[in-house]
Assembly symmetry: C2
Homo-oligomer: 666 residues x 2
Amino acid sequence: MNTTPQTALGPLEAWNRVVIENVRPEIDGGRFPIKRTVAESVLVEADAFTDGHDLVRCELLYRVEGESGWTVAPMASLGNDRYGGSFAVGREGRCFYTVRAALDRFASWARDFEKRAEAAQELAADLEIGAHMLETACRRSNDAALGRAAAALRAGGPGATSAALDPGLAVRMAERADPAEAVVYPRELCVVVERERARFSSWYEMFPRSASPEPGRPGTLADCVKALDYVSSLGFDVLYLPPIHPIGLRFRKGRNNSTRPEPGEPGSPWAIGSEAGGHKAIAPELGSFEDFRRLVARARQLDMEIALDLAFQCSPDHPYVAEHPEWFRHRPDGTIQYAENPPKKYQDIYPFDFESPDWRSLWEELASIVEFWIGHGVKIFRVDNPHTKPFAFWEWLIARIRKRHPDVIFLSEAFTRPKVMYRLAKLGFSQSYAYFAWRNSSWELTEYFRELTQTPIREFFRPNLWPNTPDILTEYLQAGGPAAFAVRLVLAATLGASWGIFGPAFEQAENRPARAGSEEYLESEKYQVRHWDRDRAGSLAEIVARVNRIRRENRALQSDWSLHFHSTDNPALICYSKATENLANIILTVVNVDPKFKHSGWVDLDLNALGLDAEGPFQVHDLLTGARYFWQGPRNYVELDPRVLPAHVFRLRLRTRSERDFDYYA
Amino acid sequence: MNTTPQTALGPLEAWNRVVIENVRPEIDGGRFPIKRTVAESVLVEADAFTDGHDLVRCELLYRVEGESGWTVAPMASLGNDRYGGSFAVGREGRCFYTVRAALDRFASWARDFEKRAEAAQELAADLEIGAHMLETACRRSNDAALGRAAAALRAGGPGATSAALDPGLAVRMAERADPAEAVVYPRELCVVVERERARFSSWYEMFPRSASPEPGRPGTLADCVKALDYVSSLGFDVLYLPPIHPIGLRFRKGRNNSTRPEPGEPGSPWAIGSEAGGHKAIAPELGSFEDFRRLVARARQLDMEIALDLAFQCSPDHPYVAEHPEWFRHRPDGTIQYAENPPKKYQDIYPFDFESPDWRSLWEELASIVEFWIGHGVKIFRVDNPHTKPFAFWEWLIARIRKRHPDVIFLSEAFTRPKVMYRLAKLGFSQSYAYFAWRNSSWELTEYFRELTQTPIREFFRPNLWPNTPDILTEYLQAGGPAAFAVRLVLAATLGASWGIFGPAFEQAENRPARAGSEEYLESEKYQVRHWDRDRAGSLAEIVARVNRIRRENRALQSDWSLHFHSTDNPALICYSKATENLANIILTVVNVDPKFKHSGWVDLDLNALGLDAEGPFQVHDLLTGARYFWQGPRNYVELDPRVLPAHVFRLRLRTRSERDFDYYA
């Protein structure tokens, strides 16, 4: 960037009287793309102005990657020299947009001409000026209508005045304007368009080896095929499996993360690689590629997908260790550097050395792993610990994969520092875990979700809300029992267009920690086979299923941007709404975030945000219970007992506005 | 900008594990410089982070324009991956700054080593890794101390451990780090450094022809020389004169903007140019260049300066019109296009056509006008209607002038749309008129001055606050009488480090409008000679002088950034403080903004912002009246009668903090 203003005079073309600035959305000066999903739109705003009093015409330029020319759409004045316009994004891939502005000399002339005509001033000279502009444009554009208009102006009299004041003429002149006279914003901004599931998805994480219906026999991929019916009945559309690759033997971890395993213990699936293969192999105890093919096929039948885990690290037994020792860091004694968080040592894990002199072949190989599983029907990847690999690697990898496979979705596991988490999202991850798991009070939730949904962060960061994961059994869940699980699942599923649970531990409300003060599970499935009775009494499966059905049936919950918080007079009660753009579908959720006690209070609705009249009554229909209540005005009473149900998920049904009448008795 | 991520693998140098983002201050992605005055400092902040757990070292790089190398200063961690550092700017001119960051591999190693040592782990291999890093750095930097440290680490035993843990060693290694391993923020950001008067100035505008002490005789530059003593006694340091050039005859305006002047009427000074000359001439009725030389010299003796008006436009009689008709726009009938705001016509004014095919010679000529007056000792210019000339012209002109004369100050008259006003400031104007004149209520003032002083706008926009100008006699002043003038002068002089008045109309509380609803003065000096009796009873001169003395004696009032508003329980009372950085000088102002009635109420001070203890008593010393009050805690009572004085301008005097004891009895 040259910040030195020119003190010599360059060509006239080097300056333009029109300025464009403050273009939004724009991430880090255009360094990163914004994100959308198919059929969404991009609302672009910009300041545009000039010296003096001339009118400015502002236009939005956009194109799909690969197209040569821009599509041009007008931007409307929003007042205070700001303009806005929008375009819809079509298929998956990348689009570009920018802003163009120009002096609208003819419209400026017409505006002044009208004032002169109203003041009954002498108009001959001004008619000649207008005619000259029309003639010039006629010659350039070969639009004979402009030539006829010029002649009408020159003819004088009332006909000339009315021809000059024809608003259609100014529009026509704007359409015929010389693009060379316009200034174009110097940056082409990018939008990455993904399929809808990048925005709206419901995930279920499950260890295949825990999927066996028979106690005592470890689960397999074949069991997962059967389990798909259960997961589908819960309403999820993504089944995410922790790594399914062969597990290393050396330094294998035992039950409860023991470093002294008993013979026959299965080890951690994240210790990837054994003599049976590495990241492109399936652990023999889980089954074959044919089993995997069946799993993918059955998921497709159920309108679901299989997501795999990308854990780019090796056990000491991974074939890469012998074949490519140059991809690992070596200690002075010649041994390979295992993972550490001093003084802790993880001798079952060898990280890759992304700065290895042979980094290119390593990066290519890792990309080939993703391609390999895409070849086996996987289009969604959950990425393990992306923050321990270079940012440049992810930007390269995701761009490279998306170039051939724009429908591939990446979920970033990054519970690390906020700026690192956001950077990973900017680099291309479709979705990211967020800090939801640790935001429990209504104040924390409000602050955090305003940051995620009402600031420019929403342009690049799509949160995926997980109440639990194999690594995270929060203190809230440990202490709060099944009611706490119900609170968290309603919050996750209604605050987030994407959410997920680690089951069956979640729906069984498994809440025993490894030890006091730990977020690890006791008898964690990371280190041992567990058996779950899916039909156990007290399972939260039914409420999970109900919430997922509500999500599918209500488009309001399928996007995050409309999230709006409403006041309550009891801090244990949080209230928020989501709505479709046309307000045809409005979901109002009220949650008692205290899993121990019944709470009641008054919610104070922002009726304007809900498109409601100040006085008109409306119906709130609780989609969790089927109950319907008549509310009126902003203040309404709620009472929620966590021993029954800690939440209302209301659909607003109106009778005051005719266009939404149909909905009232639905 | 290439927003396409590389999908092919480039050189290793093309990526770096460290990211720098969110660098502040930065205006429009580095497109425009920030502003400082001599001896101020620039506090720079940036996010810097890496993948994984390595420590990052962040440094501030800065240099004066023309210097080849960067000066490097460490940036301290502010938490959450943010770093801060600062540098002081020296002489007038331009400086550059940017941010550099690198992995601090040795410090990361030392941090881990310490944890391993505390856990009594085997350290031999880690000592060898550290020794190897030290050796490599020793070879590269020829610092033998690093070689000795390597040997100490290799010697093993307690000596090796303590050598490894020596914090001085990590610092030394950081100082010897290879700059090639660092990442440098891709933009060099610029700061324009001006002299102090660009930040802190007190302006007095006066028509020379109204400066005569004898009624009936028009004033001259020689009268201005004498008037300087008066203006200086009021405490002003800039005397700004409307255009002093010959005034055109054709279409000359008469008294009260009449288009039918009587013979002998003097015309508007902004209708520049007659057969006596143009922008490089002095109107014969005002005097000679020798008179002007005496004026400049006398001002210098009084530590004042003369500011001239740059009004780039011509009367029909300007020599340019005949010599350079190509610099003007022509109408179809061959006449030159006069200024218009349809249906209004200003036939006494010909605007330049900045887009003329011969624009280069026009721009050069206009620059030569500025150079001409610089040659006659003028270093401050007030620019008339900059928003009617192209932005590119101002950016070019100011850069060009500053290159040879970095001490030249430009004040932008731009009461136009806010975005245009800010753009002109970004382009290089030192100071700008602002919307102060129309912000009267405490709420309006608070909102507006928070925008000006507590947002990034302050980095490029320096407001100059004028309660009145020859064009602006606000309704507030018209209706409020002398008390209103007192309110506005205290507000302007304490809210703004730069302020100005158009006198003697201001201190004489002249408040007769041209007509109801107009902001123009009756008998405006723009169109006629006025005579003022400076010694008239009831003049506000004494309070003006007192306020300007307070400004000179209290550094807190000489900058805008510390402005802090404090609550009051009466909307007619506004309360705010300004303080020096070390809090040695704190001015607390309370103003009754209702010029009609006495108001009383409680101010609720933000004691923390004032560096005061919650309980400790303190003294407030009213510098306007000399009265002293003892206050305690945040809530204190005030009562202000506009018929006496509408404001307190308190200096806080403390006895609770020893370092400020000295001040208490001052």
